[in-house]
Symmetry: C2
Subunit: 287 residues, 2 copies
């Protein structure tokens, strides 16, 4: 596995590959890798010829009161996992390599970014789209992989790619969960034993919504109310949002039909966790 | 000359060229071509192997009270000029090809954009950086050419390229002027005979500033005051701004030293004209 810390080096590796028509796969991450990341890497390993993973804890997507400083960094463990997964190149830049002192250009999606997590984390998605645009220009992938856990992020990235004409295919892969249902997240490492139990409220609430819809409920307001009531059983859970939105536009829906996403954000003792379920009414599928 | 109206078509042409390592030159324009554009095209023709010119009057860089609708369109004349200049590909997209109905992603430079023309034309540079980022992703040039007439624009594009890691070299070429000194601009076609005469105030003011500096004046405030006084002779000229700024940061300077730009914007009977002069004190050059 090649490890590139500079943009110059990664360009030197990638450019000749592009000229040979070799397909480049790309999985951008913030490290502290778990099976969710690895599921993306496995798929990319199959679908593309040269596989690049980046590890960069991107300062500009964290708010001033968020967890940038304490976000888990586990580089040597991550490297081992990436080698085992057959990754060809790890891009692991410093913050100063990515952001010069006079940095002043941002990429901002202005519609999908202003709902759900966009409301509780102002500036977050601007930080995400900016760093992903940069990484796309550095890595020049043919296909890039994102997890459905960050459903809104994936939709925003897709929109950015379409709007700014990046010649890149975006693939979004299913959420990977622990045995008991908790969606994998690097932030799960913040949870103590009790919080870890309480964190199950997200998955259980989604399962409850699924049961309601399966039994014929279509009223989004009633489903959301039911979820909020259910969450009260979890004394440490502080709801950030419970929303049912159109899967494409992310606009709130009143009726569950076509394709919707049930999206949740909850604080457990100050740790912010998200989860979601894609409901495809036409195919009768819950993903 | 190939004429591509769709993004799909231009990609089909460009991709095999890139794989052969052929260098792509790119001159983005809004059409109504004049010798200023042609100077960029001539240089690009020499320095690169495959030369792309785009003509697109970009709606999102015009303000609601600006001249988008009446901006000169002269396609058949432009095509002829481009063929004569040996251009390989003209990209001439429709507005709907460039902006889908749900378009919502913008590229915004946030420092250099907020002075000079950025103050009188809010949103203008956001429109410029957005469309140029799109065109860069569509054309994937090695070198792209801009005119010094739009000095601020060129600086903003350079910053965007550095910040977002576009692998593109930006070249900025000197202002081309009419015999009497008026900087060429597609907007000069708006000027009637009297306005055309009055429009000389910009060039003459720059010449006056040059003479002052050559005679030892270094005080930026005094030079600007002198220019404003001089402009009073031109009864139809309404000053938008007269500024002397650092050539890199575009921040106002008090003393003329190192590299500064004298930048002017003037309305002549509602037609907004700009001009500038780069003053390199180290080399004693006025460009």
């Amino acid at each position: 596995m090649i490890i590139a810390r500079s943009i110059k080096k990664i360009r030197e590796v990638i450019l000749p590959l592009k000229q040979q028509g070799i397909t480049i796969g790309f999985v951008p991450t913030m490290g502290a890798l778990h099976e969710g990341h690895l599921s993306l890497i496995k798929k990319a390993r199959i679908q593309t010829q040269f596989l690049v993973v980046s590890i960069f804890v991107n300062p500009i997507q964290f708010g001033p009161r968020e967890d940038f400083k304490v976000y888990p960094r586990r580089l040597s463990r991550d490297k081992k996992l990436l080698r085992q997964a057959g990754v060809d190149l790890l891009f692991y830049p410093s913050a100063s390599q990515m952001y010069k002192q006079d940095f002043s250009t941002y990429v901002e999606e202005t519609t999908l970014s202003h709902v759900l997590c966009g409301l509780s984390r102002p500036g977050h998605f601007r930080g995400v789209t900016t760093v992903v645009a940069k990484l796309f220009n550095i890595v020049t992938p043919d296909i890039s992989y994102f997890g459905q856990k960050d459903y809104q992020q994936a939709q925003i990235i897709k929109r950015m790619v379409a709007d700014l004409n990046f010649n890149i295919k975006i693939k979004v892969l299913p959420i990977v969960r622990d045995k008991d249902g908790l969606a994998l997240s690097s932030r799960n490492s913040y949870l103590d034993k009790i919080s870890r139990q309480q964190a199950l409220c997200l998955y259980r609430a989604l399962q409850r919504a699924k049961a309601l819809i399966a039994s014929g409920e279509r009223d989004a307001v009633r489903i959301k109310k039911n979820i909020r009531l259910f969450m009260r059983k979890f004394s440490l859970a502080k709801i950030d949002y419970v929303e049912i939105v159109d899967a494409e536009t992310l606009r709130e829906v009143k009726v569950v039909k076509k394709k919707v996403v049930i999206a949740l954000a909850v604080f457990i003792k100050g740790v912010r966790l998200i989860d979601n379920m894609l409901v495809d009414m036409k195919k009768g599928r819950f993903i």
